[in-house]
């Protein structure tokens, strides 16, 4: 199904022939490859390093952290059909709503920019949710929270946590792309919604 729809058009609610359709059609290469990015992440040829459940759970979590209800519902609707999807979705959604905040915050390398350091919450998933997610997904969601709100706090130690939880180097690359792609997609959608409403 999803290879027949353009996901950004779908999330913005763009209809053929509208002004927003014209705006997107003017940049066909951007439109094509934003969609191919989505396909690479969510209809992967090889899901051996990052499962589909992990992909859609992280996406639903990040969309909820961004307060983008319809994008969260879109990813949630994909997650719910996967193994253990309903319980993972419900837990992911509750966790995201509880830990939603405002970003970006974080720390700079020590020096003149230290004056601009700002502190904010760090997600530490508790035992009850961890039991539902398992160590791998719990670590991924903690990392997704960091990338969403305070990416400048990233460190080798944060990646080490992922490896310790069972992630491979290639899996971390895909997870990082996925979380970062969501930050892009949600903002393109947000911007186009504003232009569509004008």
């Amino acid at each position: 199904m999803t290879d027949t729809i353009d996901v950004i058009d779908h999330l913005v609610g763009i209809t053929p022939g509208s002004s927003s359709d014209a705006l997107r059609s003017r940049r066909p290469i951007t439109k094509e490859h934003a969609q191919k990015s989505w396909t690479a992440l969510f209809e992967p040829v090889d899901a051996s390093q990052v499962s589909l459940v992990e992909r859609f759970a992280v996406a639903a979590f990040i969309a909820t952290l961004h307060g983008d209800r319809s994008t969260a519902e879109f990813y949630g609707s994909k997650l719910v059909g996967l193994e253990n999807g309903p319980v993972i979705l419900a837990t992911t959604k509750a966790l995201a709503e509880l830990h939603a905040t405002k970003g970006p915050y974080g720390h700079y390398p020590a020096g003149p920019l230290s004056d601009e350091n700002t502190d904010g919450p760090v997600l530490d998933i508790g035992a009850a949710e961890r039991a539902i997610f398992g160590d791998r997904l719990a670590a991924a969601l903690e990392h997704a929270h960091l990338l969403t709100y305070h990416p400048r706090d990233a460190s080798p130690a944060e990646l080490q946590k992922l490896l310790m939880a069972g992630w491979s180097t290639t899996g971390v690359v895909t997870l990082s792309q996925l979380a970062s792609f969501l930050a892009f997609q949600i903002r393109v959608v947000a911007g186009l919604r504003v232009l569509a409403a004008a």
Binding site: S19, L23, R26, R27, I29, T30, H33, S37, T39, A40, P44, V45, Q49, L65, H66, D68, K102, G103, P104, Y108, P109, P112, L113, E116, L146, L147, Y149, P151, R152, A154, S155, P156, A157, E158, L159, Q160, L163, S168, T169, T170, V172, V173, T174, S176, Q177, L178, S180, F181, A183, F184, Q185, I186, R187, V188, A190, G191, L192, V194, L195, A198
Partner: protein, 200 residues
């Protein structure tokens, strides 16, 4: 656990925003050139990127790297119409300054200066941050890029109006949106899988 994290001991790391050329080193093992297949080279798009640790690490997942690179190239280099390149680079620099990506900001502030010939204003954005006064049109672009880069995004009708009042068409505003949005992708990758180093 077979894979390991790299903890580089970077001497004299860049600690301010700069238009100077700086480097970057990975926290995870990039693929070595001998490991690259034809598919990897295709995904790198530009073959010279095989020697760049950032792209040599990202190419571990070739499908998303290739699609990302082609998205990136069209958003910034397709300038036969729409927003001038300098101002697309300004949106990228503003997002990078807000998110705190010293490496991304160095590359794209350099491009913003090169294409606009307004090096002092670009430096002001780096030095003073995203509230620096750069004149009406640039202020409108920076302010919109920053609002869109906030989490959750705060870009609204008031930002679009300010851009229109500064002379931008909806097509050009869409280019601002895509430039800033793309750097929310780029900043997060660049910040989270490695760190800046002095120029090599």
């Amino acid at each position: 656990m077979s894979d390991t994290v790299i903890e580089p001991a970077v001497e004299n790391p860049p600690v301010v925003f700069t238009q100077d050329k700086i480097g970057w080193t990975a926290w995870l093992q990039p693929l070595a050139e001998v490991e690259l297949t034809d598919r990897h080279y295709e995904a790198l798009v530009d073959k010279a990127r095989a020697k760049n640790p950032y792209f040599a690490l990202l190419v571990r997942d070739p499908d998303i790297l290739e699609a990302r690179t082609k998205t990136d190239n069209d958003i910034f280099y397709n300038t036969r119409d729409g927003l001038p390149r300098a101002e697309r680079e300004l949106s990228a620099t503003a997002a990078s300054r807000l998110n705190g990506c010293i490496l991304c900001a160095s590359v794209h502030s350099r491009f913003a200066s090169q294409y606009s010939k307004r090096e002092a204003d670009v430096q002001k954005l780096l030095d003073e941050g995203v509230t620096a006064d750069l004149g009406d049109r640039w202020n409108a672009i920076v302010s919109a890029s920053v609002a869109l880069s906030a989490t959750p995004p705060a870009f609204g009708a008031d930002h679009a109006k300010r851009l229109r009042d500064a002379g931008l068409s909806d097509e050009e505003i869409s280019d601002v949106v895509h430039g800033a949005a793309f750097f929310n992708w780029a900043n997060r990758l660049m910040l989270s899988i490695g760190e800046p180093t002095p120029a090599s």
